[in-house]
């Protein structure tokens, strides 16, 4: 097992894409059967299905690129937290529906413009996966934006809950659009996106939707970061304990 962050940038980049989708899909899967209303139970599960499908594509490609014979499942179920490259945002707990929607919206507002750029990746496999994923991400962004507005501009209680969620999650939004060496290298090679452009789109979208939702944009204070480099919050360990249980308890079996 890799004990250190020393993946080559291209592999690291693909793991970020795959792990974001996987961990957020895993979180949304926790809602299944417990949604606030049957229609939204179904809708959240749709998003989870899309994301896990995307995770499979990214992780499969990451395994191919790595060339050590690891497939999607080995990457999903046999890495420890320090080898996961997802944003801290996506591992945050579901909380109430407002927290789930805010987390989803902040992610979608990043994910959609990111995929838009990846459509033009010089890596044809990346462009192909992005092309399929962006159709889904378009729907996700519309869904989470609508619910931001509905709940922000709904009742007094929903407004309060939505503002709390936005405030609570704000400090996890910084790292998505802040490039590090891996992002820079991926962008320069033509494989990855320009996070400067993604940030611009993210800022505009977030401002627009928060305005429509009558929500206040928190001040840019200290931002948490580290997910992309494998330094996570305590939550990820529990997510993995759950997700990887069978593969860990009964290693090397077909399921």
């Amino acid at each position: 097992m890799d004990a250190h962050p020393g993946f080559p940038p291209a592999l690291d980049y693909l793991l970020r894409l795959g792990d974001n989708a996987l961990i957020l899909g895993q979180r949304l899967g926790e809602w299944c059967g417990h949604g606030p209303v049957l229609e939204q139970d179904i809708a959240l599960t749709n998003v989870a299905l899309d994301l896990i499908g995307q995770a499979r594509s990214w992780l499969t490609y990451a395994g191919e690129l790595e060339g050590q014979g690891r497939d999607e499942d080995q990457l999903a179920f046999q890495r420890d937290a320090w080898d996961f490259r997802n944003l801290l945002l996506v591992e945050q707990p579901n909380g109430d529906f407002a927290h789930t929607i805010a987390r989803q919206f902040f992610f979608d507002a990043f994910h959609h413009p990111l995929l838009e750029q990846l459509l033009h990746s010089t890596d044809r496999q990346v462009a192909a996966i992005a092309e399929k994923a962006i159709k889904e991400a378009t729907y996700h962004l519309r869904y989470s934006s609508e619910w931001m507005i509905r709940l922000g501009d709904g009742t007094e209680e929903s407004h309060r809950r939505m503002q709390t969620a936005v405030d609570d999650l704000w400090m996890y939004t910084g790292e998505c659009c802040t490039p590090d060496e891996v992002d820079e290298a991926a962008h320069q090679s033509g494989m990855g996106a320009s996070l400067t452009a993604v940030r611009k789109s993210w800022e505009e979208r977030v401002k627009d939707i928060l305005d429509q939702a009558t929500l206040h944009r928190p001040e840019d204070d200290w931002m948490q970061s580290g997910g992309k480099q494998g330094r996570h919050t305590e939550h990820l360990g529990y997510i993995l304990a759950d997700m990887q249980f069978l593969q860990r308890a009964y290693p090397g079996m077909e399921w």
Binding site: C32, L38, T45, I52, T155
Partner: protein, 318 residues
């Protein structure tokens, strides 16, 4: 009085002629009540049934299995949706039906009060529970009440897919290691008898069967369907190399059916009454989801109302 007798006679004649009854048609009050009871129980079973399987979504052993399980549990939510809609055609509201569920007044399929303890339970539920559900539900596609029959056509298609998926999980386990096979056998041991109970009490003790059959809501009796299920399932278990937990199970040449041992009706009635291993948890989980979602539903209504008013105002200005 005589006119209602005449109406009832005409109604029965339509049923006998295999006509479909539609929401606006006249129907006896007892027919309507029977359908509301049956369809709402069925809808509740779908959404309560999401819980035991949902229990394994976060722990599914591969991404492919996770996707399939998520999609399956989502299908059940969809079935719940069609069925509540079918019940609503009879003049009841989804929220009222849910309230009855949350207060413990409404029934749902008792099988979902059993726990899912290992991954093999997900296979066993797909294979046996969905298998038994299909036996029960395929005849409902010809139910005399149109909206229910049409909902069942869609549901049955998906259920048969679920059943194959469940069987495939079992097959993978049975072709796997010793411990996986043990897991499969253990799940079969626990789910077999509750699956047979899914068909309901023996015909002699089933208070609704005769009338439901006359109304062509039901086409076969509980015991007929149960026998058919056993006959179909025994060779499937043999193919897996698993042993059904019934020492009395054997082929009866004369009847052309498998004989099987007595069902523990004491257990059945206790689980129905609320004494199953998970009755409290299941209802609690549903109630919690509903109550925690109240503010979301209220906000959605409030926002829609705000939009409507704004639209009106801007129309007036224009």
């Amino acid at each position: 009085m005589s006119s209602s007798v005449a109406l009832e006679q005409q109604f029965q004649e339509r049923i006998d002629a295999e006509a479909r009854i539609e929401p606006k048609d006249w129907m006896p009050d007892a027919y309507r009540k029977t359908l509301v009871r049956q369809i709402s129980q069925h809808a509740h079973s779908e959404i309560v049934g999401m819980l035991p399987e949902g229990n394994w979504i976060t722990r599914a052993p591969s991404l492919r299995r996770k996707l399939a399980l998520l999609a399956k549990v989502q299908d059940e939510a969809g079935h719940g949706l069609y069925l509540y809609a079918a019940a609503e055609t009879l003049g009841v509201e989804r929220d009222d039906l849910l309230e009855e569920l949350h207060e413990g007044k409404a029934k749902y399929s008792s099988i979902f009060n059993y726990p899912t303890l290992t991954w093999a339970d997900i296979g066993a539920i797909g294979w046996l529970v969905d298998g038994a559900a299909i036996m029960n539900q395929v005849p409902l596609c010809r139910c005399s009440y149109g909206p229910y029959a049409r909902a069942m056509v869609r549901i049955c298609k998906e259920e048969s897919f679920h059943q194959r998926q469940g069987y495939e999980i079992m097959l993978t386990l049975c072709r796997g290691t010793e411990v996986q096979k043990r897991m499969a056998q253990d799940a079969l041991n626990r789910w077999w008898w509750p699956s047979l109970m899914m068909f309901g009490p023996n015909d002699a003790d089933s208070k609704h069967t005769a009338q439901s059959m006359a109304w062509k809501i039901k086409r076969f009796t509980n015991d007929e369907l149960r026998q058919r299920f056993v006959d179909v399932t025994v060779p499937q278990a043999e193919f897996l190399g698993l042993t059904l937990p019934d020492p009395e199970l054997k082929w009866n040449e004369e009847r052309g059916h498998y004989d099987f041992g007595p069902i523990d009706w004491d257990e059945f009635w206790n689980v129905v009454k609320g004494n199953g291993p998970c009755n409290k948890e299941r209802i609690e989980a549903r109630r919690k989801a509903y109550e925690a979602g109240a503010w979301v539903r209220e906000a959605a209504l409030a926002h829609a109302e705000k939009r409507r008013r704004r639209k009106e105002q801007s129309a007036q200005v224009a």
